[in-house]
Symmetry: C2
Subunit: 307 residues, 2 copies
């Protein structure tokens, strides 16, 4: 397991997950109205408040998880000042040894994609979420810039069915053919990822697959054997341990090799803190991150021989 600056994203990600012992990621989705009172009192400027909050969260979770995922929208809503807060947040996460997945869902062609890739690398991101509706080759500029990518394949929101579950022609009687738009996207992702394989067959080209779509997850795993699945929707949105289990790479029980990264945002950032003093929010966040990592880690322990 190499982990130099030159290692490819897939291997750096695996090393970070192995260090934490659980394939989890904390989403940094700062929402001003939900910040702890202590933070809002100290920082009246919104962008400075979310930056301070994210810095505190990163410090609280860094001993328990290996990966964070800043949600670009939460920062961009405060304009250039918010983007400055995002830059500081990514830099601080890197300084704590965390892998940074920028959740920006970008998607554009040619030189515009190159610009978005340059923006993400300039920000200090290790990887970025991308939307490939414009075509699978629009993903390459991010890879060429040294980023890992997670391509939106099957998202956790109910309305995604209206696009991603639409049935394709030509699948009747052909088990290898993609049956839905999501499966077509999965095929593109797998093909694109073949040229970007790291140790033990993980690709720099990953996929976003919602935990709430586990019925599709198993079939998507068959179509994307090399991909790391970035999984939102676990817990609060209804995805269960069983749903995650269906998406694991068969026979891989180590955190870095199991092929999933399960994300939690709100449940870690804004835990119920009735028993804690308001000033204890760091401890509440740390405890929530630890419990989340333990919970997801236990899924691996009970699935060494997946069916």
């Amino acid at each position: 397991m190499t982990e130099t600056k030159d290692a490819r994203f897939a291997d750096r990600l695996a090393a970070a997950l192995d260090r934490s012992g659980s394939p989890v990621c904390v989403g940094l989705d700062p929402v001003l109205e939900r910040l702890p009172d202590a933070v809002r009192t100290e920082h009246t400027d919104p962008a400075r408040a979310i930056e301070a909050f994210c810095r505190g969260v990163i410090d609280a979770v860094a001993d328990h998880v290996g990966v964070v995922k800043p949600q670009s929208a939460c920062f961009e809503r405060f304009g250039s000042a918010g983007v400055r807060a995002l830059e500081a947040t990514c830099a601080h996460a890197r300084s704590r040894g965390l892998v940074v997945i920028l959740d920006a869902k970008r998607g554009d062609i040619g030189v515009s994609a190159q610009h978005y890739a340059a923006a993400a690398t300039g920000m200090g991101a290790d990887a970025i979420t991308v939307n490939a509706y414009l075509g699978p080759l629009t993903i390459e500029p991010y890879l060429d810039a040294g980023l890992g990518v997670f391509v939106l394949v099957r998202t956790s929101n109910p309305d995604s069915d209206a696009v991603q579950s639409v049935p394709l022609a030509g699948a009747e009687g052909d088990d290898s053919a993609a049956r839905t738009v999501a499966e077509m996207m999965a095929t593109h992702v797998h093909t694109l990822g073949l040229a970007r394989l790291g140790d033990v067959g993980r690709s720099d080209v990953g996929a976003v697959v919602g935990a709430t779509k586990a019925a599709d997850g198993k079939r998507l795993r068959e179509r994307m054997p090399d991909q790391v699945f970035l999984i939102p929707g676990y817990g609060a949105q209804g995805g269960s341990a069983e749903d995650v289990r269906a998406m694991l790479r068969p026979g891989r029980a180590a955190a870095g090799a199991c092929g999933v990264v399960v994300n939690a945002s709100r449940s870690v950032l804004y835990p119920a803190t009735e028993t804690a003093q308001p000033s204890d929010w760091h401890h509440a966040v740390a405890a929530a991150a630890r419990a989340f990592a333990t919970d997801v880690g236990s899924i691996l322990k009970t699935s060494k021989t997946p069916s």
Copy 2:
């Protein structure tokens, strides 16, 4: 034809196009390496250079076109300083009475979509390009924020066929059924747009349809009778007047009612200037914008009775 601050986007857009007399839009895609020497000499800071260039372009084109389309990626690549330049660019375009379509191709769910919408309105944009792979309802937060949207339906890059032209099941023998992924998206766009109709049947929900995909354009127009098509790819990328003509709304010859907005970026921003003094770049840009508007305007004049 109303045009108050409260008018809906579709009507404000139509008024701007009618004023300029041609359904055109200038894309603001500033690329540092291509800026006029005079700008690069005066501004060594990249973000300030692209801001100064865009300000000059806006002043040069404001008498000839009614709409500009800043490409967010070109600004974001310079981080928060670039986003500050984007804010200044949008503000200056508004101050010159131009309609601003932010080309950001955003797409996310729930509260994240709300944040992106807030970012765009905070920036002073009138409309935004969006990606609906996550589902048609993910578009609503932008509309609820008062923005117009242009949903990516059929993009001009060759590789888009690998996703957007994929054939769907169930279209055999049913002329009303969507035949491709792009047509499925078009159906969603039309349905979503029905609740957002302005004067003479134009919707706040528009569509991006590349000029290079005119074979699809005519059928997409049938599926999206109320939509304004934002059309990239004219000229440099190979789209012709005939291609644009196939996408006009039948029987509508006025710039604001014809149902298209044709975009040009590089051909206006970086015109060949062999004969001009380097300091004359404003004049060259103005001349290119005027020629582009005249060229596209002539398409309308020759198509009062489309076949």
